[in-house]
């Protein structure tokens, strides 16, 4: 009875703390019940505020917890050092001069690492670490982010520390180093020029720091979550039954760096998790499945850690972790003798990350949960959102898995990426207009156009055209000049009669691609399906122009430009200034003008 009462009181205390940002006081801190605390009285920054908002949102919607009883939906335990900490650190060590532009990132880092952390902050952190012994991530919560302009990929670094050493002084040293590095990143060139671009002048920025439990489990010498990813309310590359507003998910094994850095991860629609155009054939799966993942080393690390490359993370091969639980669950096995992939990892053969157990067999209702989370976020913020998350899998039969809500931000924050407006004036001056375009945003980096000369096109010569495209591509790639590729039919088609059968290597330097449907080749539009993985992961704009409908490409104008190069079937022209390509992903409309 006594145990029962204690347990209930404990649960109640924990529940009452949810959604609350409590003030950290060393002597009263209880790491077990206090999920979200802050040090200092200053601002906690945009990112931390969004965490607090998410925490409150989850508290206000208990139905989501009730609906997914097999999943703990939580925010990782969080400590925020408010802007007081940064201000005290900078002023105490007289670091303000680093705001000037004539310092390299390395010089800033060196200056910040040499500086001393204020005593009061050190003692608070020591009190914190006396109770917290799990791996931590340390990242910025910038005030600038309040403006909601910053892309999620982030301008500032995130550092991870194992925080499991028996010597607390060493753990404290690691934490302080990570905080100093985050502080230093405020004065790096990237953030400074970004500040200039939105505020027209550089200014001193105060920064809060989020110290957060790393979502994950220990597997051998490493620590990582089973999966991490980003969910977005809007899908700019809808395929098959997908609708743009149903959203899109990118998920990868291990820590979220794989998804953030745009490395190979799995993209799926939470409403249609069975539809994976990039995984259509065995060869597609072998080519597109995730091969590497990031994990935090928690055993056998040096006392100094490695804050340089990958911020203490290690890039591991999926195959090296084939006996670890997440790979066991998420991987399928390739059977070379049958050229088949079987959705189990418990047979011999190379392991291929397909996430089939979740996407096909619903062993964890992650797609459904992500639909709900996106809807919750959309309602909470009043606009489409991006959500970063991680998951941990329970290895017990009826155990609960964990869903960690890491960050949420409005998609409109990235105005250029989301809210593209195409005006009537732009349509009138455009040399190309399409009502069937994939992707979203604005591209002002292309000044080169490579097109198949319409009068010289012969369906029987598409293989030769593919070779010519490859040669021009190689030269433009070398010069780092992304280009607009224009030609009839399905680019990359298996069938040389339906389009130009290029391979990805033949067109790897493209900035955007136009497939024309006209009298000569009226094949069904491919919508980039042959290169789906590359197009979606690189955000390449794929435009279908059906000539004779409302769509058009101005052949006369392009023919009037002087040729840089002309081959049997192709013509390469260059504009003096880059053209402007705009796609409004919500309407699938595209214009290109100069």
């Amino acid at each position: 009875m006594r145990q029962y009462i204690i347990s209930n009181i404990h649960t109640l205390r924990k529940w009452r703390q949810k959604g609350v940002v409590a003030q950290f006081k060393g002597e009263h801190f209880d790491a077990d019940t206090m999920d979200f605390v802050k040090i200092g009285q200053g601002s906690i920054g945009g990112k931390a505020r969004s965490l607090a908002f998410m925490s409150a949102l989850l508290q206000e919607h208990p139905e989501i917890h009730e609906k997914f009883l097999e999943i703990n939906i939580v925010i990782p335990k969080t400590l925020v050092i408010s802007t007081d900490g940064f201000e005290a650190f900078v002023s105490q060590n007289h670091l303000e001069h680093f705001v000037r532009e004539d310092f390299t990132d390395e010089e800033v880092t060196e200056g910040f690492l040499k500086a001393d952390m204020p005593e009061w902050l050190v003692s608070e952190l020591e009190a914190y670490l006396s109770q917290v012994k799990y791996p931590l991530s340390v990242r910025s919560s910038s005030l600038l982010e309040d403006a909601q302009f910053q892309p999620y990929a982030g301008l500032y670094e995130t550092y991870m520390i194992p925080n499991n050493h028996p010597d607390i002084s060493l753990r404290l040293k690691h934490l302080i180093t990570a905080i100093k590095l985050v502080y230093a990143s405020t004065y790096y060139e990237g953030p400074k020029s970004f500040t200039r671009s939105i505020l027209s002048q550089a200014q001193e920025e105060a920064m809060a720091v989020i110290i957060q439990q790393v979502a994950g489990e220990e597997y051998g010498d490493f620590f990582y979550p089973a999966g991490s990813g980003v969910a977005m309310s809007h899908n700019f590359y809808p395929f098959s039954h997908m609708k743009p507003e149903e959203g899109i998910i990118n998920i990868a094994l291990g820590l979220g760096k794989t998804v953030m850095e745009g490395e190979k991860s799995l993209r799926f629609s939470p409403k249609h998790p069975n539809i994976l155009p990039q995984f259509s054939t065995v060869d597609d799966i072998l080519a597109n499945a995730q091969r590497f993942f990031y994990a935090l080393r928690i055993k056998g690390y040096s006392d100094e850690l490695n804050f340089g490359e990958y911020s203490n993370l290690e890039k591991r091969e999926v195959d090296d972790a084939k006996d670890e639980f997440p790979v066991r669950v998420f991987a399928s096995t390739y059977v070379p003798e049958e050229h088949r992939i079987r959705d189990t990892s418990y047979i011999p053969g190379p392991k291929i990350l397909t996430f089939a157990q979740i996407l096909k067999y619903n062993s964890l209702p992650l797609p459904q949960l992500l639909c709900e989370i996106l809807e919750l976020g959309r309602k909470g913020m009043g606009c489409p959102v991006e959500v970063e998350f991680s998951i941990n899998l329970s290895s017990e039969k009826n155990g609960k898995s964990d869903f960690f809500f890491l960050q949420m931000r409005p998609m409109v924050a990235e105005e250029e990426r989301f809210e593209v407006q195409i005006t009537q004036k732009e349509i009138e001056k455009a040399f190309c207009h399409s009502s069937q375009a994939l992707g979203n945003g604005k591209n002002e980096e292309m000044a080169d156009i490579v097109y198949v000369k319409p009068h010289d096109f012969k369906p029987e010569a598409t293989m030769q055209m593919a070779e010519e495209v490859g040669q021009i591509n190689a030269a433009l790639l070398k010069d780092k000049r992304p280009y607009l590729l224009v030609g009839p039919g399905r680019w990359g088609s298996f069938d040389r009669w339906l389009g130009i059968p290029v391979k990805w290597k033949n067109i790897s330097g493209i900035g955007a691609i136009i497939e024309l449907r006209n009298e000569k080749l009226r094949s069904d539009p491919s919508q980039g399906s042959h290169f789906f993985q590359n197009i979606t992961s690189l955000g390449i704009h794929y435009i279908t122009v059906t000539e004779g409908s409302g769509d058009y490409f101005d052949w006369e104008w392009v023919a009037s430009l002087p040729a840089v190069q002309e081959t049997t079937f192709l013509r390469h022209v260059r504009l003096e200034k880059p053209m402007i390509l705009k796609i409004d992903g919500r309407k699938s409309q595209c214009v290109i003008f100069h």
Partner: protein, 449 residues
């Protein structure tokens, strides 16, 4: 010959792909047509270019949202003069009658060349498996087979996979056939190993290529033992080519992928090949990583500005292009000849340009075109059918031995046909003619049917 082409064009004006295939085949067998006037008298060209049976059917199916879709299914039974129809099924939006006829027509001669008793056919649908769920693909396959089952059978028409039809689709198709016919027979090839499939399927093209090369050398009382070999590619075909070459005592010094090639003067042994297998099949890395492990090797990055492929510019005796189309151009071919290469066998599809082939033929080196040397895939399908008929599952070694015998037969029939038509040692002509002659003679023997 132009008469028959005109007839075909007039009769089916929209089938440009089929017209092209007929033109290419007829051009390649021109010497046979000139020498055998009876073919003309019995309208053999008119007959061989007209399918024995064309089946088109409706394939209705329901997607996961409950919406109904209708695709069109095709089955072309082109020619059964030397055995039951045999060919692949293709599921791809581009599939139409012209393409399925083209595939069936080419298959007649490919199958005949294997020296096995297989006629030619093909089938497919304009269904796009890309972006479909497993359940949608299954429902489509079930609907497709619900019509096809009445036209096929182990002694009538046997089908295998092609683009869009892999192990998954073969499984669904076979399951439906079995249920509708209430019989377990070898009506489909490419089955799982546990339910009627055959060993040596992945190895077929690579092994077959080497067996063919060994046969060519044997005509000159020579072997692969100690031969220095250039192999391009690092995929399935290249890996099994290297494996068999090592087994037969040859020394392989190159491998490549789309980013570059490695040159290992000491030779790629079994251990190094295992590393390449792991690198390409499991880690899916680049071939340049080979030199991280074996520092004695040299890696050369692809230079798109070059008009030749430097891989072919190493002193060697044999070359096995196993990477991609057109990887040997005129300049490369001349380099190979100048460097003393005496044998080129093609593992890839059309790796040599027409100009390169002319150089090989002019220089009288041993040149095996892909249509002969990489016929291994079709041959293993034939062996799968044989095992199914006998209700036996041969061991890997047994399949390999029989496969080797088939490659030997293919080689011999190419050699014989070339000699008979006055160009001894010309495997190109031999491969074009051997299959054709076998089919048309069978047709003559069987009368007007």
């Amino acid at each position: 010959m132009s008469d028959i082409l005109d007839v075909i064009k007039d009769r089916d004006p929209g089938e440009k792909e089929f017209h092209q295939a007929v033109k290419e085949v007829l051009e390649s067998v021109q010497p046979v047509l000139e020498r055998n006037p009876e073919y003309r008298q019995t309208a053999i060209l008119e007959r061989i270019t007209e399918p024995e049976r064309v089946i088109m059917f409706r394939v209705p199916w329901m997607d996961d949202q409950g919406q109904t879709h209708v695709n069109r299914g095709y089955k072309i039974e082109m020619n059964s003069a030397i055995g039951p129809y045999k060919g692949g099924l293709r599921f791809h939006p581009s599939v139409n009658l012209s393409i399925v006829k083209l595939l069936a027509f080419e298959q007649v001669f490919k199958n005949a060349l294997t020296t096995l008793g297989m006629g030619g056919g093909s089938g497919g649908s304009d269904f796009e498996p890309k972006g479909k769920s497993d359940n949608e693909v299954m429902r489509f396959c079930q609907s497709f087979m619900a019509e096809l089952f009445r036209h096929i059978g182990p002694n009538t028409d046997i089908t295998g996979g092609d683009i869009g039809v892999g192990a998954r689709e073969i499984g669904y198709l076979f399951g439906t056939y079995k249920k509708l016919r209430n019989e377990f027979t070898g009506v489909l090839t490419g089955k799982g190993l546990g339910w009627g499939g055959s060993f040596i399927r992945p190895e077929a093209t690579g092994y077959g290529n080497v067996y063919f090369a060994a046969e060519m050398l044997d005509t000159q009382n020579d072997t692969l033992e100690g031969k220095i070999c250039l192999v391009s590619g690092a995929g399935n075909v290249a890996q099994f080519t290297v494996e068999k070459l090592i087994e037969l005592g040859a020394k392989v010094i190159t491998l490549s992928d789309s980013s570059g090639y490695i040159y290992d003067e000491e030779g790629i042994d079994q251990g190094k090949l295992e590393f390449v297998r792991r690198l390409k099949n499991i880690r899916r890395g680049r071939i340049r990583e080979y030199i991280d492990k074996y520092s004695e090797a040299v890696y050369t990055e692809v230079d798109p500005s070059l008009d030749y492929n430097p891989l072919w510019n190493h002193k060697a005796e044999c070359a096995f292009p196993s990477a991609t189309q057109n990887e040997i151009n005129e300049k490369d071919a001349q380099t190979l000849v100048n460097n003393g290469v005496t044998l080129v066998t093609e593992g890839a599809n059309m790796p040599s340009t027409p100009e390169a082939i002319n150089i090989f033929l002019d220089s009288k080196l041993l040149y095996a075109p892909g249509k002969a040397s990489n016929a291994g895939g079709v041959a293993v399908s034939g062996l799968e059918m044989a095992q199914n008929s006998m209700r036996l599952n041969w061991s890997r070694e047994e399949v390999d031995n029989r496969f080797k015998m088939i490659m030997k037969s293919i080689h011999q029939s190419c050699l014989d046909a070339a000699a008979e038509y006055g160009v001894p040692g010309n495997y190109m002509v031999g491969a074009n003619i051997a299959g054709f002659v076998k089919v048309v003679n069978a047709m003559l023997d069987q009368g007007l049917v």
